[in-house]
């Protein structure tokens, strides 16, 4: 439908649509972020180029629209930046800098909006940080050691709005260069995050992790790894996380990213061979190809 070439002067590492699918934010090794207006099914227009990072930009994340037009970005420069578009002038500016990490910040992800404006960052310094942007304009953060050698990515658990204290619903999964993924839960007594489960199964760096966003169907976690496999994790009757390989044979190259569709039943995987594949679970509980992408 829409193809955007030559958008940046260097590799593009991430591209994410906003809540309404009308705008696309891109992150590049050229140190910039670009915002495109997607018009209809064929057209696009460059709306803005955001300059502020001092290194390659790895990821972008749109906040829920109830907080305004807000983007979080992260970079090799060790920072996460928060950008906001002023509704009156449509000018973008940096409204917050998150500089607690000592190495590349590899991922940014906003919590489910019910939890407030809460940003989760992972870094090559081995740490994970969670920043709260409060309504009065102040911020607070919690930072803790998560994976030796480096943390590559993280994903929030979908929120279960069954009337519990929302603070206790803060859960996410992280993955790292220690070949592991770990599930963390907020512990209000110690005011930090405690390890709830360790997902052991990969034999090389875990590059990406994605928690299926829907609570309507069974909850899945997908992990994509340098070992050329993707594992699907789900809880058995006792609550223990069990793994199932997505494919019986290894992928031809490194698995870089994994992403669930918004309904949670389709998984997309991108590889070092530049191939993108789509997967869904069949009625026998096996994962199979979910068709092609309509160009």
């Amino acid at each position: 439908m829409v193809t955007i070439g030559n958008a940046h002067d260097d590799l593009i590492h991430d591209a994410v649509l906003d809540y309404y699918g009308k705008r696309l934010a891109t992150a590049s090794s050229d140190k910039t972020i670009k915002i495109f207006d997607i018009e209809g099914t064929q057209e696009y227009k460059l709306a803005e180029t955001l300059v502020g990072h001092e290194g390659p930009v790895w990821q972008v994340a749109w906040a829920h629209p109830k907080f305004g037009s807000i983007l979080a970005t992260c970079s090799y420069d060790g920072k996460a930046l928060i950008w906001k578009e002023q509704p009156e002038t449509q000018q973008w500016s940096i409204i917050a800098e998150h500089k607690v990490h000592q190495a590349s910040v590899n991922s940014v992800s906003w919590a489910p909006h019910e939890l407030g404006a809460v940003l989760l960052c992972t870094s090559s310094d081995g740490k994970v940080s969670v920043v709260d942007f409060k309504e009065d304009g102040t911020t607070s953060h919690v930072i803790f050691d998560a994976h030796a050698i480096g943390v590559n990515s993280a994903s929030w658990a979908p929120i279960n709005t069954s009337g519990k204290d929302s603070q206790n619903e803060r859960r996410f999964v992280t993955c790292g260069s220690d070949n592991l993924a770990k599930i963390w839960k907020f512990d209000s007594s110690s005011n930090t995050y405690v390890e709830e489960a360790k997902l052991e199964g990969h034999t090389d760096w875990v590059r990406d992790v994605c928690w299926s966003p829907s609570v309507l169907i069974r909850s899945y976690i997908a992990t994509a790894s340098q070992d050329r496999t993707v594992l699907i994790w789900s809880q058995d009757n006792t609550g223990k996380w069990q793994k199932q390989p997505l494919t019986s044979e290894k992928f031809p190259d490194v698995c870089w990213r994994a992403s669930w569709s918004l309904s949670g039943n389709i998984l997309a995987v991108s590889g070092g061979d530049n191939k993108i594949s789509l997967w869904r679970e069949n009625l026998q509980g096996k994962w199979e190809s979910a068709g092609e992408v309509d160009q």
């Binding site: 591209a15 009625l283 092609e292």
Partner: protein, 420 residues
């Protein structure tokens, strides 16, 4: 992460191949401590352990001191690889790493000990493609090739063209497994071909700063004709890259060390990263392809004689120096500069403190992200089953595609039938 650990040893070291690696250290030859202690030990460290990172997990004394220590990749019958030590008295000894870790008994782990070398063994390296093949080099120009599966009599690589006295560095070609390079104190870097059983090429350099005295050699991680050599001549402290298709002149000259260069390591996962260390006590990060200096790590208090990336986690590297320390640190450090806080009442204490690395931070000329962080492709879903794909070509151009995901019709049909 920055500085991860200091190990208080004057030792040569070798990383294990694990993603969270162990470190093996062996007391280095050619140095004594303040007590003229001449003992020597082989030790293992688990520096990423949350509990016992400051003490060795294994320690045993050995009879002689090391010039080199190497840890092979796993191969048949050696699930954690082999450790090989090059000793000052000419001995080469091999230990099974798995048995050593499990039994913590050096004699049980020892699988072979040889006195083939007639003088000190200065250097050794396992073949990156034939994991059980080792090359050793030492005094009197002796070079031997070892098969550690059979431990049959080691053989020489053949006839030399250049005069060699002491071999101080060896390096296997990363893609052609029967080719290796050696440097000697005769001022030559020699290229050997085990198939034709002879030295096939040699390099020397004589430039404006003088004649290079080669101390260390490494091959390009993927391109078989390219290599890099370092000179330990204080007047000519250069690092030179060569393409052997024209070995008359270096391709790039990396100038930045103030005194002789003793060690270098070319990153296997990113050809645009190289670390070097030397007699000026410094450790420098380079882009050897462009010839640019990227940054400099805190200086040690004495010669930095060895520097090595962790082979499976190159975000981490170690530097060993004659000031009694092996410093393990991360490649990158984005923490803001801290003002040096040295508050001491007497002068001696002041100068003691200022000489330690704790008061320094790395300085970067250029922020160059390592290749292993740069994902070339990506995918994400958006509202209305829109799929955003990023793919890139080999020239580094990325293309974004936004498309509509269409359900697999067969599957859709069967689901439709089921729901009817």
């Amino acid at each position: 992460m920055v500085k991860i650990n200091d190990i208080d040893r004057t030792s040569t070291f070798a990383w294990s191949q694990d993603v969270i690696p162990l470190l093996a250290t062996g007391t280095v030859a050619g140095a004594v401590d303040a007590n003229f202690n001449s003992s020597s030990s082989l030790e293992l460290w688990n520096i990423f352990s949350p509990t016992d990172k400051d003490e060795p997990v294994f320690s045993a004394s050995v009879e002689n001191r090391f010039y080199g220590l190497e840890w092979s990749k796993p191969f048949e019958g050696r699930p954690k690889g082999l450790l090989a030590g090059a000793f000052e008295n000419g001995v080469v000894e091999f230990w099974d790493a798995d048995i050593l870790i499990k039994t913590k008994d050096l004699s049980k782990a020892s699988v072979h000990k040889s006195t083939k070398h007639s003088g000190a063994v200065k250097t050794l390296q396992f073949n990156p493609n034939q994991n059980h093949i080792l090359v050793t080099g030492g005094s009197k120009g002796e070079i031997f090739i070892w098969d550690t599966k059979t431990f049959s009599d080691p053989f020489t690589p053949g006839k030399a063209m250049t005069p060699m006295d002491e071999i101080n560095s060896v390096a296997w070609n990363q893609s052609v497994s029967h080719i290796f390079a050696s440097t000697s104190n005769g001022g030559y870097t020699s290229i050997w071909d085990l198939k034709s059983k002879r030295e096939v090429l040699h390099l020397s350099y004589n430039g404006q700063l003088g004649r290079a005295e080669f101390s260390s050699v490494a091959w390009h991680p993927t391109q078989s004709t390219k290599l890099i050599v370092a000179s330990e001549n204080d007047n000519c402290p250069l690092i030179l890259t060569y393409d052997l298709r024209n070995a008359n002149e270096p391709e790039k000259i990396l100038q930045g060390h103030k005194k002789g260069v003793l060690s270098l390591d070319w990153c296997k996962q990113d050809p645009e990263l190289l670390i070097s260390s030397g007699k000026d006590n410094s450790t420098i990060l380079w882009n050897p392809i462009t010839g640019e200096k990227l940054g400099e790590y805190p200086t040690t208090a004495n010669w930095a004689f060895q520097t090595r990336f962790a082979p499976s986690s190159p975000d981490i590297f170690g530097t060993a120096s004659f000031d009694g320390k092996i410093i393990i640190q991360s490649l990158q450090d984005t923490s803001p500069p801290v003002s040096t806080k040295v508050t001491a009442n007497n002068d001696d204490e002041f100068w003691n403190k200022i000489s330690t690395t704790d008061t320094q931070q790395p300085t970067f000329v250029k922020q160059q992200a390592p290749r292993w962080l740069k994902n070339p492709s990506s995918v994400s879903f958006g509202f209305g089953s829109k799929l955003v794909k990023i793919t890139s070509d080999s020239s580094g151009k990325s293309v974004i595609d936004i498309s509509q995901f269409v359900n697999n019709s067969n599957l859709q049909n069967s689901t439709d039938k089921l729901t009817k």
